[in-house]
């Protein structure tokens, strides 16, 4: 098991390197000259070739590509992502707090999504084909299909503006969490509860359930066995779901003016603030790889077949 964990962690290192290289290459392929962007952002009235060359030198952009990538990578590992082109502030001082805010929103939403998915999934699986199962699936299909920005606008209009029950935007108190979390949950719980349900149902038809019943075990105990086996699948799915939710808060954050990564990155993209975009993509990729690795390890630890073979 120890060796498996070490292996798994080592495999993720080259993966991260490739991702970082791709990020760097793609952003540098952009037709815009970064030096020009910087000058524009700083509001320099007349951009001359001389000024561009000078800025390039300041930013170290006259160096060969590989060297620039290498410098950026080493600095990034120390959380030094350079300075924002627009504000001139260190990128980390902007992205750090934003990441924390997004993380809070993602964490609360993920917990709600996981609890809802397991609850609904188990209920539907136990009542497979009955009215409860059919209606939950029907409603969730309908809700999942609704675009989240539309849902968010409707909720803001009714709950916050018309009845003034909750804040429209920002991140002031626990009340600010309610609407965004509901919208995120509606878009994702409908997908993940289906996974739990399917995995429960396939376990329900396993021989060990029949044998347990044939031995006279009470339904409660059998359900515990089924849950233990079906949650193994669910855990790896949730492991992958959390970074997806983290990445997809862009839309929600912009609607609710949540001071997180999503708002920051959209602003950065609009103003072509390359260092922030680079850092954003890199951090998101790292989170993806991290969660993937962790969920693999947890899965291995839960499944005796894998655990003992390692």
């Amino acid at each position: 098991m120890g060796r498996y964990i070490i292996n798994r962690v080592f495999i993720s290192i080259p993966l991260l390197l490739i991702i970082s290289l791709l990020t760097f290459v793609l952003i540098n392929l952009s037709p815009l000259d970064p030096a020009e962007v910087v000058l524009q952002a700083q509001g320099v009235p007349k951009i001359t070739d001389e000024l561009i060359a000078q800025t390039k030198e300041e930013l170290g952009m006259d160096q060969p590509f590989i060297l620039r990538y290498f410098d950026w990578l080493v600095a990034s590992l120390q959380l030094d992502f350079g300075d924002s082109y627009v504000t001139g502030k260190p990128v980390w001082s902007l992205i750090g707090p934003a990441f924390l805010n997004t993380f809070k929103l993602t964490f609360v939403s993920s917990v709600v999504i996981i609890v809802m998915s397991i609850l609904l999934g188990v209920i539907c699986a136990l009542k497979e084909g009955k009215i409860v199962d059919k209606s939950v699936r029907g409603v969730s299909f309908f809700l999942t299909a609704m675009p989240s920005y539309w849902l968010a606008s409707i909720m803001i209009w009714y709950v916050s503006v018309k009845f003034d029950l909750l804040p429209t935007s920002g991140m002031d108190s626990y009340k600010s969490y309610i609407l965004p979390v509901i919208v995120i949950t509606i878009s994702y719980a409908g997908i993940y509860f289906r996974n739990v349900r399917t995995s429960m149902i396939s376990n329900l038809n396993e021989d060990y359930v029949l044998y347990g019943r044939a031995c006279g075990l009470p339904e409660k105990k059998i359900t515990v066995h089924i849950l233990r086996n079906s949650l193994q699948v669910a855990i790896s799915i949730f492991g992958m779901a959390i970074p997806i939710i983290l990445g997809s808060t862009v839309v929600i954050e912009n609607i609710f003016a949540w001071p997180g990564l999503g708002s920051l990155s959209v602003k950065a993209i609009l103003s072509r603030d390359f260092p922030i975009i680079q850092a954003y993509v890199l951090i998101l990729a790292a989170v993806f790889v991290l969660f993937n690795t962790v969920s693999d390890i947890v899965n291995a630890a839960m499944n005796p077949k894998i655990r003992n073979d390692l």
Partner: protein, 277 residues
């Protein structure tokens, strides 16, 4: 000899497609005797067994009477029926590999089952001791070690014998064995059949034994039911069936003797490989 189990007009159908899977079957199991059910794949043997235990899937419905020692099982409450399962009617499945929860050690299932049936009248240690003895009696050495193993760490034959050992401790009136030997290689098959013969000698319990292997059936059964497409086409004492088969289908079975269908054998070979690897 009196009948311990009487099945009257058993009919099983699929709610979704309205297909009839078992058509109006009646048969008896006599006390301390062994009844074999043979027939090709899909002829409804497993469904018959599961109907007796009332363990068919939710999409299947059954009608007819199942009289166990004169008591009609079909009208019992679910709770009372559960008490009968394991303690009075015990099932042994075809594939030991999948019959135990893959993420628990074997001991968990054994302890849960025994606790369910004996908690009130037996002391814990006594049951464990009995379980160990039963496991040793079916040639499982180191019972403690085996109880701490996961299903995938044991062989199909061992798991099959664990089910037999559990049946020995539960002392049911009827053991229903659904193709207990088909998923095994020849050597373990021989061992498991030996255990079944021993089991009958030791406990004198009645048995319903499903098998594709007519050789095994001839060795173990007193009476044989031949099923085809959900219907019983022939029945009688084992020797009579083997010596003077009357129905065309039975003649065909006895003449091919070893296999009921070539296709099925091929499939089973595939399954055996999967079970072993």
């Amino acid at each position: 000899m009196e009948n311990i189990l009487e099945v009257r007009n058993l009919r099983v159908w699929d709610l979704n497609s309205d297909k009839v899977l078992i058509a109006n079957n009646s048969f008896d199991l006599r006390r301390s005797s062994c009844l074999a059910i043979v027939g090709e794949s899909g002829s409804g043997k497993s469904i018959t067994c599961r109907s007796i235990m009332r363990l068919n899937g939710s999409s299947l419905r059954q009608s007819g009477e199942i009289l166990f020692k004169g008591e009609n099982l079909t009208t019992l409450s679910e709770k009372k029926m559960r008490r009968k399962r394991g303690r009075k009617l015990c099932m042994i499945l075809q594939n030991g590999m999948s019959a135990f929860d893959p993420s628990c050690v074997i001991g968990v299932h054994l302890k849960e089952t025994l606790a369910e049936h004996f908690d009130c009248d037996w002391k814990k240690n006594e049951i464990e001791e009995k379980m160990k003895l039963a496991m040793e009696s079916v040639m499982l050495k180191n019972p403690i070690e085996i109880m701490n193993k996961y299903p995938h760490q044991l062989s199909g034959g061992m798991l099959q014998r664990i089910m037999i050992a559990l049946a020995i401790v539960l002392e049911p009136d009827i053991i229903i064995a659904d193709e207990p030997t088909t998923a095994l290689d020849t050597v373990s098959q021989f061992e498991v059949v030996e255990q079944f013969i021993q089991l009958r000698k030791k406990m004198g319990c009645s048995m319903i034994f499903i098998s594709h292997d007519l050789g095994v059936v001839r060795k173990i059964a007193d009476e044989v039911l031949v099923m085809k497409d959900g219907e019983i086409v022939e029945r009688g004492p084992t020797e009579a069936i083997f010596l003077k088969p009357e129905h065309k289908y039975t003649k065909y079975l006895v003449s091919t003797r070893l296999a009921l269908s070539e296709n099925f054998k091929k499939l089973m070979r595939g399954e055996t490989i999967v079970a072993e690897s």
